[in-house]
């Protein structure tokens, strides 16, 4: 994979703990220079996937590769190329903030202590205090400064904005964008869809340990959903449009999904026998909720979601 556009690749990657399957058949491909969001509720397998990429867990099946290196067997070489922020970053409690930054810059060739100090300043960190005296949010920021100071081709950030206040969250998103501008690849796991939509080029949605959907955020932004109630039968759309549209009719209503620009559709829409119409951008939230409906937790909800998006990866 060296020199290939793919920086990260997993093939049929799986992790089982006894009878519990935390991740199954995961085929992930992340290109160099993109920000890739991993989305899913707790227990969907995001952190397991990340920990497998970091070689902290041994795969039960399949393999994971970063920059052409096996994540488990060549973990030291992989770690030289990856900066990793765990979801619950714990630091050495007896060290002061500055010492933590010094330590992480010291163990990694190429890490820049001055850059770490700049990041700390930007995140308004107080470096003279011991880690044990810092709040959870401050510790998270300190870990973030330590991690992002390393100039690695890949940064893996597992819920980097958890525990942070809104101002710092936007700083973190700005840092992610800066990393992308600098040509770095970022894997970004989050529960917060707005953040993913702002920061990511592509997102992968995980459900029950399975990567069920991969979407390009720019395409999702262009998609619209039209919900209409009709006073008469729905006429066939013109052939050029029909190929792009997904139309579902139910109870006198109709839901139309558009994959691209809305403008070619407007003429046809105006000619429909409409009683009511609602046009809304699809957005990441809608895509996400088709796999993880709000207040889900029972099989019926999942089945309803699956009617729109059957199981299996859609790209």
């Amino acid at each position: 994979m060296l020199g290939s556009p793919l920086l990260v690749e997993t093939r049929s990657l799986a992790k089982r703990y006894g009878d519990v399957t935390a991740l199954k058949h995961c085929a992930l491909q992340i290109e160099r220079g993109e920000v890739y969001g991993l989305l899913g509720p707790n227990g969907s397998g995001k952190t397991t996937l990340i920990r497998l990429l970091m070689g902290l867990l041994r795969p039960s099946a399949g393999s994971a590769w970063i920059d052409g290196l096996d994540c488990y067997r060549q973990s030291v070489a992989v770690h030289a190329r990856v900066a990793y922020l765990p979801g619950d970053a714990r630091l050495f409690r007896q060290m002061r903030g500055r010492e933590v930054l010094q330590f992480f810059c010291g163990v990694r060739a190429g890490a820049d202590f001055r850059k770490a100090l700049e990041l700390a300043d930007r995140l308004k960190l107080e470096l003279s205090r011991k880690v044990s005296m810092l709040s959870t949010g401050m510790r998270q920021k300190l870990a973030l400064a330590a991690v992002l100071a390393a100039d690695t081709p890949l940064a893996i950030l597992d819920e980097p904005t958890a525990n942070l206040d809104p101002n710092v969250r936007s700083d973190v998103l700005a840092l992610v964008r800066e990393a992308r501008s600098a040509g770095r690849t970022v894997i970004f796991s989050s529960h917060v869809l707005d953040e993913a939509e702002q920061a990511c080029d592509r997102v992968g949605i995980l459900r029950e340990g399975e990567l069920v959907h991969v979407a390009r955020v720019s395409e999702v932004r262009r998609q619209h959903r039209i919900r209409a109630r009709l006073t008469g039968p729905l006429p066939q759309p013109p052939a050029a449009l029909a190929r792009q549209l997904t139309i579902a009719a139910s109870n006198g209503g109709v839901t139309i999904h558009t994959p691209g620009e809305l403008s070619p559709l407007l003429g046809w829409l105006a000619a429909l026998p409409l009683a009511e119409v609602k046009i809304e951008p699809l957005g990441l939230k809608t895509v996400y909720e088709s796999y993880h409906p709000p207040q889900s937790g029972n099989g019926a909800d999942d089945s309803a979601a699956d009617a729109d998006h059957p199981r299996g990866v859609r790209r």
Binding site: T47, R51, M54, G55, L56, L57, R58, S75, V76, A77, H79, A80, V82, Y84, P86, G87, D88, A89, R90, L91, F92, R93, Q94, Q102, F103, F104, C105, G106, V107, R108, A109, A143
Partner: protein, 274 residues
């Protein structure tokens, strides 16, 4: 190996090590001084009054025990010394994997370009160096005591070198065994509990094997059979051959434990912070 990792490991070990080195040095010095205060004749009377089982337990003939050298040799098996040795080896050994996992710092550490073997090796090196320092401190305490206290017999400080080496070998083994348990576990206190329990069982086996002649075969089942510093002191003519056997056995077992710990640690999953 990485300088930052070295300094972290030394920094973590320093407070406990300094305290225990001071304890070892001070205790052995104090022991010699206290020995010099008790008149040898009175001590012989006390020894003769003790039941025969005591002599079996300390494994030294009465004639040798009733000398200044014999009396001072008991410092190396004193509960204070064993406490210090156990404190160091269990604290350090249990911390190397289970401690870091329990605190959640292992994940951040292993996310750096550092091999698991380097993490374990660094801990083991600092722990072993600490064990050597404790043994040296014990011997230097004896040397200091002998230099400043007036004793009835002529006592040679060199006679205590094999005892100090035996003390080091015991500490090295205990630390290695603790590291192995730690490498298998994710809870430090459980690793300490398991190792503490193992030590007590081994001690009971040694006591039973020593006190009950028909169970003397039990001595083959305890690593503590190879910890006889007092015997090495009072029998200088065979001290080095004993040292070769006993210390060799303890160091060999310790090396095996470290190898096993490395294999387990390099293959195991690292759980998310607990």
């Amino acid at each position: 190996m990485n300088k930052a990792l070295w300094s972290k490991s030394i920094r973590e070990a320093r407070p406990l090590l300094l305290a225990l080195v001071a304890l070892m040095f001070g205790f052995h010095w104090l022991f010699v001084w206290l020995t010099s205060l008790v008149e040898l004749g009175a001590y012989k009377i006390i020894l003769q009054a003790l039941p025969g089982e005591f002599h079996s337990l300390v494994n030294i003939p009465l004639a040798k025990l009733a000398t200044d050298t014999g009396r001072i040799s008991l410092a190396y098996v004193d509960p204070v010394v064993i406490f210090a040795v156990l404190s160091w080896s269990l604290a350090r050994g249990s911390d190397c994997v289970a401690g870091e996992i329990g605190r959640g710092t292992m994940e951040m550490l292993l996310a750096q370009p550092i091999s698991r073997l380097a993490v374990l090796g660094m801990q083991a090196t600092v722990t072993t160096a600490g064990a050597a320092l404790l043994a040296v401190a014990a011997w230097l305490g004896t040397v200091q005591g002998l230099a400043v206290c007036k004793l009835s017999d002529e006592v040679s400080a060199a006679d205590f070198i094999p005892a100090a080496i035996n003390l080091f070998a015991l500490t090295f083994f205990l630390a290695a065994a603790s590291s192995l348990i730690s490498a298998c576990d994710s809870y430090r206190w459980r690793a300490i509990g398991v190792m503490g329990g193992f030590y007590v069982i081994e001690l009971v086996i040694k006591i039973v094997g020593r006190l009950a002649p028909k169970y003397d075969w039990l001595m083959y089942g305890t690593f503590l059979a190879a910890f006889e510093p007092q015997v090495m002191v009072v029998s200088p003519e065979r001290a080095w051959s004993m040292s070769l056997r006993y210390d060799g056995a303890l160091i060999g077992l310790a090396a095996a434990c470290y190898v096993a710990a490395a294999i387990v640690f390099c293959r195991r999953d690292i759980p998310a912070p607990l």
